[in-house]
Symmetry: C2
């Protein structure tokens, strides 16, 4: 018999890794196009700060799995954020978001 | 005396909510500019699927706090994804990402 809760627990952990790595295509797109006009600076500033706090918490817990997940997430959103800051001047920014 | 682990546990929970809501400025930006050229379809497809799995897991656990966090996250990235699909034709997409 399949234990659904156990299955979903593993799946949820896997999603943590996959969702952190998901930022890489966004970063690649910005560096490839040399433009980040439509990407939100506010969104990626908040995400970078969030992953940084989660990374500190993982280190505090000495939980290697969480450290790896949040490190990949932090590096991914950090790359996107650097891309936005680097190519921001290429386009007109609206709303400040 | 401050209990750092307890403090960071609360802070990590708060980051879960904040990082879900962080997608809203990205969605607003796309709808305001009517353009999503620089935003990655692949990134937001993965994030939507990820939040959907996490939402199912939260429902399975009957954990209201997790349900709320992941529901906001799912709605946020879902809004961005709809924006990308809606305004995709406005610009040339590169790389398919």
């Amino acid at each position: 018999m399949i234990d659904f809760t156990q299955l979903f627990a593993s799946l949820a952990g896997l999603m943590g890794i996959v969702m952190g790595l998901a930022n890489i295509p966004q970063a690649l797109k910005i560096y490839k196009r040399r433009s980040a006009k439509d990407v939100s600076l506010l969104t990626y500033s908040i995400l970078s700060f969030g992953y940084f706090v989660l990374l500190l918490y993982s280190v505090l817990l000495h939980n290697i799995a969480l450290i790896v997940i949040n490190l990949f997430g932090f590096l991914g959103v950090g790359l996107v954020l650097s891309g936005i800051i680097r190519y921001e001047k290429k386009g007109v920014r609206h709303w400040g978001i």
